[in-house]
């Protein structure tokens, strides 16, 4: 059961990370976590560590790449940036997401009418 939940979460997290990197350019893990926190307006609670698991996956797929750099307060940090493949994937994932949420929305509306 917990496996199902993490699957869904992971899936959405991946879109969020891709979108964030697409919108804001290279960021480190902490920055990505902050952006998601800010956008979700504290509705979504996130184990920030899982961001790194997703980052690893994205990297293995070749959708993002990383390089070591220096953070705003002079700490060594790894900066992630989206690749061309990642942009393509983001379009695909966004379309998918919209289609699914449309369908789910329609299903839910049906239930309300009844």
């Amino acid at each position: 059961m917990s496996a199902d939940k993490s699957e869904v979460l992971q899936g959405t997290l991946i879109i969020m990370i891709l979108k964030t990197l697409h919108a804001l350019g290279p960021l480190h893990g902490f920055g990505i976590a902050r952006r998601i926190e800010q956008v979700s307006e504290n509705v979504l609670t996130l184990n920030e560590g899982t961001v790194y698991t997703s980052l690893l996956r994205l990297q293995q797929q070749g959708w993002i790449e990383s390089a070591w750099g220096v953070s705003e307060n002079n700490r060594r940090a790894r900066f992630y940036s989206i690749t061309r493949q990642g942009r393509k994937q983001l379009t695909v994932e966004t379309e998918n997401w919209e289609r699914i949420s449309n369908v789910i929305g329609r299903v839910l509306r049906l239930e309300v009418q009844k």
Binding site: N47, G49, T50, Y52, T53, N73, A77
Partner: protein, 888 residues
């Protein structure tokens, strides 16, 4: 698919530089936590609280790190090492179990890899010829399909025409076996050699290790001017002397002393010369000592005395080659009566060379495989029972989240370790077994002298170990794989018991082992019965207290008569010697002299293939007395039957039966080499003997007086009063006192010669008996184990039975019944298996059918008896179960 592949590649990359990646991840985590803490502090938190809040928000870092590592790389390899380490620990925890299982496997692996190494060395190592699969021997057969009494070669005119005209061959060459002596003042040395035609070396692709091969000027009529010697003979007789090239050597019966022009590469052996196979020194499996150039003599182009070998062109099938040669031969036969009645067949050289080896080694490989299967059965049962004892552990592991695949891998890695251990021990066993084989099987398996117990044994042993690991480990591993942890944890029954399913499985394994063992036992039984039958067969002559050796006078023809007469006188006068005789054709040496003859009253042959060809033997007067071969008609040879007296012969009963069925042969005549030659008078008849082969019915034989036949190489046969070996030194000294250069070789008692003639059977019998003893012991241990386990597992049931009134004898009968059903089932299956398998032994059997009922009944009864003994201890234990146990 592609993304799966991309991830796999990056994971494989992740295998390397693990440490770096780990610390990078740690660094990233730490940075993140610090940044988070600072943020909380900036928001006004207490630094201490901020740190723990940051950690809370980040989640379980350790778990994350673990997961991170897992998804970054392939965990297979680190885990395999972990599994192997764990397996090793578990095995060393119960050394007794491990040793028994490993030894069991070692027996199976050792037996099989020993036989495999023989096969590798004898059958799979090609002869040192270029592309040997293209080489074809071309023996002759009768066109009317009848069997030939003695083999016949080809006339030079015929094969030279083939060489010219046959388009399917790259070339055709003639060769012959030859025998001679290297004359030395301290006892001459025999040499087996090949006379070869011009094209032979080029056709076979033979190379020289030293010097050069023959060129065309070496071939011609008259004295042989140059020879090659074989590598092994060069080492043996000349100590590997590099200066040998260009030296002359003295060879008996040759008028000139030839020059050695080269030494061939090592390991070159003979091609078969069937016509010479009856010579006393013929050994087709030996390495060639001497090579002599031979050019067909224009005066005897039509005499059929060449053996022929040909090399097919690329892509030409033997059938096509044979058709072409047959057509050529038919044309030759219609043009010349001398060639009538025979046609060529093609036999692949490698097939021919491997025939004897294959005949004995393949059945033995089968037997060894059975032993390996039986051993695997035992190991599997042991592992299964051990798995039962550890079921709880497995259940806990599964409950704690160990994957099924992980468990499977762990169980298999344990059996793998066992098999490697067993394989190592087995290789040790095999190496010593191969050494023993080389000693005891020298006469049973051809070309065994060239075999070394080296990497082949190791390779086969370890290969078999891996096979055994999966074979023996599969059942226990699959059981662990399908284990239901809930059931096991709920059940929490006593350790080391088995459910009905496992017991059925184990009984099946034991039954299978019984069947395989029975097949082995039947094979051994059939061979033992064969050997008994052979021992009982009346040979027609004595074999005890007889010493034989080949003795050859190498100096000159003039010296021949005086040497042999003097030698006989001196040897016969030695104390302890009863009789002494010279003989060409000592029993069981395969030695005689096939000759075509005309016999009084038989019609002259209509065509060449109808000529009567019978084996001739030549002996001195005391021979029949010495061998105990009774004279039943006429007279014995006399010392006056020499080259000045009329020629005479003695025949055996079989001869009389075939050619004079209604009368006596004594007083009749026969002609050697045509009716226009002086006739040979038959003066005596002796009893039949199995002279050629103990397993063959006596065939017609003709004996000539040695003084008239003048045989070159021959045996000295000595009948002694006590152990023949005690007079060897005296006899040799007596012979050397007559002529120090005389060649004295192959000193053997007739018993030894007899044993050598049976060597293949004896070796097969010994090995099969050994294998079946090992198999039986393993199987009995297996049966014992299964019944014991059954008693332990049914303890509670037995206690209840006895509590409600079953007598001890009832309980014993119950368990005994289980044992009997197991054994009987296995025995029946084994008999069915043996009926099929024993056929491969057919060529070894003598007066015993492969489905011999006596053997089957005796073996089955014996095994049932021993099997029930194995059940005895557990049955007794079952009878003693305390009824009170039921209540606890």
């Amino acid at each position: 698919m592609t993304s799966w592949f991309i991830r796999l590649v990056s994971r494989i990359r992740g295998l390397f530089g693990q440490e770096g990646a780990n610390s990078e991840f740690d660094l990233e985590t730490e940075t993140h936590l610090q940044l988070l803490t600072e943020r909380f502090v900036r928001q006004g938190m207490d630094p201490k609280d901020a740190w723990s809040a940051a950690r809370r928000q980040f989640g379980n870092a350790t778990l994350l790190r673990q997961r991170h590592r897992e998804s970054r790389t392939l965990l297979f390899f680190p885990n395999v090492f972990q599994d192997l380490r764990y397996g090793l620990r578990m095995l060393s925890k119960s050394p007794a179990f491990s040793m028994i299982a490993a030894l069991t496997l070692a027996l199976g692996i050792g037996a099989t890899s020993a036989v495999f190494s023989l096969i590798q060395g004898v059958l799979l190592t090609p002869p040192p010829y270029h592309e040997p699969q293209q080489l074809m021997l071309i023996p002759s057969v009768r066109t009317d399909g009848q069997k030939m009494d003695s083999p016949r070669g080809w006339a030079a005119q015929q094969w030279m025409e083939w060489n010219e005209k046959a388009g399917s061959f790259q070339g055709i060459a003639g060769y012959n076996w030859t025998f001679n002596f290297l004359i030395r003042n301290d006892g001459s040395q025999s040499m087996q050699g090949m006379e070869v035609s011009k094209d032979y070396f080029r056709l076979m692709g033979l190379k020289t290790a030293l010097g050069h091969s023959f060129d065309d000027s070496d071939f011609g009529q008259g004295h042989v001017k140059s020879i090659l010697i074989g590598y092994e003979f060069w080492q043996r007789a000349f100590g590997g002397d590099k200066e040998i090239i260009g030296k002359t050597v003295r060879i008996s019966r040759w008028d000139s002393s030839p020059v050695v022009i080269g030494v061939t590469e090592p390991g070159v052996r003979f091609l078969p010369s069937p016509g010479a196979a009856k010579e006393p020194n013929y050994d087709v499996n030996a390495t060639v000592d001497l090579w002599v150039p031979a050019d067909p003599d224009p005066k005897s182009l039509k005499s059929p005395d060449w053996n022929v070998v040909g090399r097919l062109r690329d892509g030409v099938t033997p059938q096509r080659g044979q058709q072409e040669l047959a057509a050529l031969t038919a044309r030759e036969a219609s043009a010349d009566k001398a060639f009538e009645g025979f046609s060529p067949t093609l036999e692949s050289l490698t097939d021919e060379m491997n025939r004897d080896g294959r005949r004995i080694l393949l059945p033995l490989l089968g037997a060894a495989t059975l032993v390996l299967l039986i051993a695997c059965g035992n190991a599997a049962a042991l592992l299964l029972v051990r798995g039962l004892q550890r079921q709880q552990e497995y259940a806990v592991r599964i409950a704690m989240g160990m994957g099924r695949i992980g468990l499977l891998r762990q169980v298999l890695s344990e059996s793998f370790l066992l098999a490697i251990l067993g394989g190592t021990l087995g290789v040790g066993l095999a190496v010593s077994a191969v050494k023993v084989f080389k000693v005891i099987a020298g006469h049973a398996v051809p070309r065994l002298d060239g075999l070394t117990a080296g990497w082949a044994v190791l390779g086969w042993g370890l290969g078999l170990a891996v096979f055994a690991a999966f074979f023996a480990g599969a059942i226990p591993a699959l059981r662990a794989y399908r284990l239901n942890p809930m059931e096991v944890l709920k059940d929490a029954g006593p350790k080391g018991t088995a459910g009905i399913g496992e017991r059925r499985l184990l009984r099946g394994v034991a039954m299978l082992q019984t069947a395989l063992t029975l097949a082995l036992l039947v094979g051994a039984g059939l061979l033992i019965r064969t050997m008994i039958k052979i021992a009982e067969v009346p040979s027609g002559y004595n074999t005890g207290l007889i010493l034989t050796m080949t003795v050859t006078e190498v100096q000159s023809r003039a010296n021949w008569g005086p040497f042999h007469r003097q030698a006989l006188e001196r040897v016969a006068a030695l104390p302890g010697v009863q009789y002494a005789a010279f003989a060409w054709g000592v029993p069981l040496t395969g030695n005689n002299w096939p000759a075509s003859m005309d016999i009084e009253g038989q019609p002259p042959p209509a065509k060449e293939s109808d000529t009567i060809a019978l084996p001739l033997r030549a002996v001195t007067p005391d021979y029949f007395k010495l061998m105990g071969m009774a004279l039943i008609d006429g007279r014995d040879f006399r010392s006056t039957d020499d080259d000045k007296a009329p020629t005479v012969a003695i025949v055996n009963q079989a001869f009389t039966r075939r050619y004079f069925p209604n009368g006596n042969s004594v007083g009749r005549k026969l002609w050697l080499g045509g009716r226009n030659r002086p006739a040979v008078q038959i003066v005596g008849e002796i009893v039949d003997g199995r002279t050629d082969d103990l397993t063959q019915a006596p065939a017609p034989e003709v004996y000539l007086p040695l003084w008239q036949a003048n045989a070159f190489s021959k045996h000295l046969v000595v009948r002694t009063m006590a152990d023949p070996r005690t007079v060897v030194v005296e006899v040799e000294r007596a012979l050397r006192s007559v002529d120090p250069t005389a060649a004295i070789e192959n000193v053997k008692t007739l018993e030894q010669i007899r044993d050598e003639s049976l060597a293949a059977r004896t070796f097969a019998m010994q090995l099969l008996t050994g294998f079946s003893v090992v198999g039986s012991v393993l199987t009995l241990v297996g049966i014992y184990g299964v019944i014991s386990l059954s008693v332990v597992s049914r303890r509670r049931e037995l206690a209840i039975r006895s509590a409600v009134g079953a007598q001890q004898s009832d309980i014993r009968r119950l368990i005994f019944g289980e044992g009997i059903r197991l054994i009987a089932g296995g025995v029946f299956a084994g008999i069915a298996l043996a009926v099929i398998l024993s056929r491969v032994l057919r060529s070894f059997l003598f007066e015993v059918q492969p489905s011999d009922p006596v053997t089957f009944i005796v073996v089955a009864a014996l095994f049932v008896g021993v099997g029930l003994l194995a059940c005895w201890a557990p049955v007794r234990r079952a009878g003693k179960v305390n009824p009170l146990e039921a209540l606890r």
